[in-house]
Amino acid sequence: MQKAVESDTPVTRLHEHASYDPADFEVPTGREEEWRFTPLRRLRGLAGADPLPAGAVTVEVEPAPEVKAEKAQRGDPRIGASYVPTDRVSARAFASFTEATVITVPAEAETTAPTMITVHGEGTDGVAFGHTVVEVGPMARTTVVLDHRGSATYADNVELVVADGAALSVVSLQDWADDAVHLSHHHVQLGRDAKVSHTVVTLGGDLVRIVPSVTYTGRGGDAELNGLYITDAGQHQEHRLFVEHSAPDCKSRVLYKGALQGDEAHSVWIGDVLIEVSATGTDTYEYNRNLVLTDNARADSVPNLEILTGEILGAGHASANGRLEDIHLFYLMARGIPYEEARRLVIRGYFGELLDKIEVGDVRERVAQAVEAELG
């Protein structure tokens, strides 16, 4: 089954509520716009009001030689400087983490290696929280990889602050074991002429919900938001994007592609884009495509574009659900290529443009292999 539903609620109303205090958000019932797709009973109490036993994740950082990596305590002014939580789980993570990871890239640094942050879940007993801040100084260029593995019930917030003229490339890999639950907000704040390439790869987990958002603080910001997900039987994978164009002459491109297979595989993609009155000259386009490989898998896809000024360069969205095309397979098989291999070629081709966006060779190869292993 496949579905694409427009939401009736204006984008402006969807994201106006923000607070550091979880008590400022009602416990969700599942009827709220931002929770209506998420199976709340599988959140292991994360969205509820009861205290939860502490679980464990270990965070390991391998910084690029040019960057500074440190642990910061609650109260550090850099924490929460760019982002105020916008839902109850995010606020709870903010109120509950014990130690934050802060990565600082000096102005004008051009890093010679990616910074690897590995979050390893040590089990699903108890709930773990995290916070990460990446600050990229003016005119610097760097790459950060967030790699999530193991089993956990984990909620966290990631602040990505890109100063004027800087460029950040981020890959967030959700390569969890099948029993993990992970809810995460990634907030990108782009300075003048700053650029981000943000790529989410979600392969594992029982329930994964990633909420990337972007705000611009100056002209000329450029955000590229990419996502690749493979949703297997029983998995719920949800990606909710929010791009808030408030500065003039900024650009955003959203490209998310998924493949679903198996009973009760469920993916959700929400693409909220708001172009405010002040955001003249905005250029935005978002695209979501889902390859539904078996019956009883369901892909929800909801683009939501709200434009409050007439003076934009371009704004559009497209969303499509489809199956593997028989005619593609026929053409390859008519050249002697066996069915399984033809299918692999077509699926790898489908994800090819996203794999190409992953600059870190090791990570790209790992994702490519995971795609083949999951779908082969």
Binding site: D326, L332, A334
Partner: protein
């Protein structure tokens, strides 16, 4: 010596609404190695249906009759097994496959047909040679399969596959259409190189006699209403050129 034998072939096409419609109504034809057969017929007469049925396209259902290659039952084979057995179909409308590069595709296909992976260097060499013979820009190797190719580029690319896969019997469905005269010569030379190889037979489907001046057929068949209504030599093509299909269409209508 290779022989493709088609006997009393009846084929239905599955229409968009799922209904079945009979298109081929008893086709008989033998194509032997060393022979070139031209099939000519009006639009909608079922020429591509014949080609697709031989290749095993899932939308075309054989309701009766047989197709054998050297005595082996082709209709019992999967699409890929037919290709590996030595059949090749150059399609009238080659398919665009996003994200699959030409070189990766060709290498995978050659590996499948030969049963083992060619050495990368040998493969690259033969691919570059075949591309240059067909005046295909080497940059095409890294393009996505047929994506954004012009009509003529797609046709040249079909002949490139013909030369690299080296089948026993090639079915060429309007490989000449959409080509300007220079491209037609290049493509005809490619077909002639294939024909010159030992044990190769060709079934050339076309609308126009133009290509038959470069690729001379041993037999010409007129195809109307889902069957062959007349067979002859080169002179039959000339008769068609002069008089068109009208007479044959009338005859066929009178019979059925």
């Amino acid at each position: 010596m290779a022989t493709l034998e088609i006997r009393d072939l009846h084929v239905n096409v599955e229409e968009a609404n799922g209904a079945q419609r009979e298109i081929l109504r008893g086709v008989d034809l033998d194509v032997n190695a060393g022979e070139t057969h031209a099939i000519m017929g009006p639009n909608g007469s079922g020429k591509s249906t014949l080609a697709y049925a031989i290749a095993g396209h899932p939308k075309y259902h054989v309701t009766s009759g047989t197709v054998t290659l050297d005595g082996e039952d082709v209709l019992a084979m999967s699409v890929d097994a037919r290709a590996r057995a030595g059949l090749f179909l150059a399609m009238q409308y080659p398919v665009e496959v996003p994200g699959v590069s030409v070189s990766n595709f060709l290498r995978t296909a050659v590996t499948a047909v030969q049963g083992e992976a060619p050495k990368l260097r040998d493969f690259m060499k033969s691919m570059r040679k075949a591309m240059s013979d067909l005046s295909i820009d080497p940059a095409f190797a890294e393009r996505n399969l047929n994506e954004g190719f012009s009509g003529g580029e797609k046709k040249r690319h079909e002949v490139l596959q013909l030369e690299l896969l080296n089948p026993k019997i090639a079915v060429l469905d309007e490989t000449d259409s959409g080509l300007d005269i220079d491209a037609l010569k290049v493509v005809s030379e490619g077909i002639n190189r294939f024909r010159a190889g030992a044990g190769h037979g060709v079934l050339l489907i076309t609308h126009y006699t133009r290509i038959l001046r470069y690729v001379q057929p041993d037999f010409v068949h007129v195809f109307v209403g889902g069957r062959i209504v007349r067979s002859g030599g080169q002179e039959l093509a000339e008769e068609l050129e002069a008089n068109g299909y009208e007479q044959f269409v009338k005859e066929a209508a009178a019979v059925s």
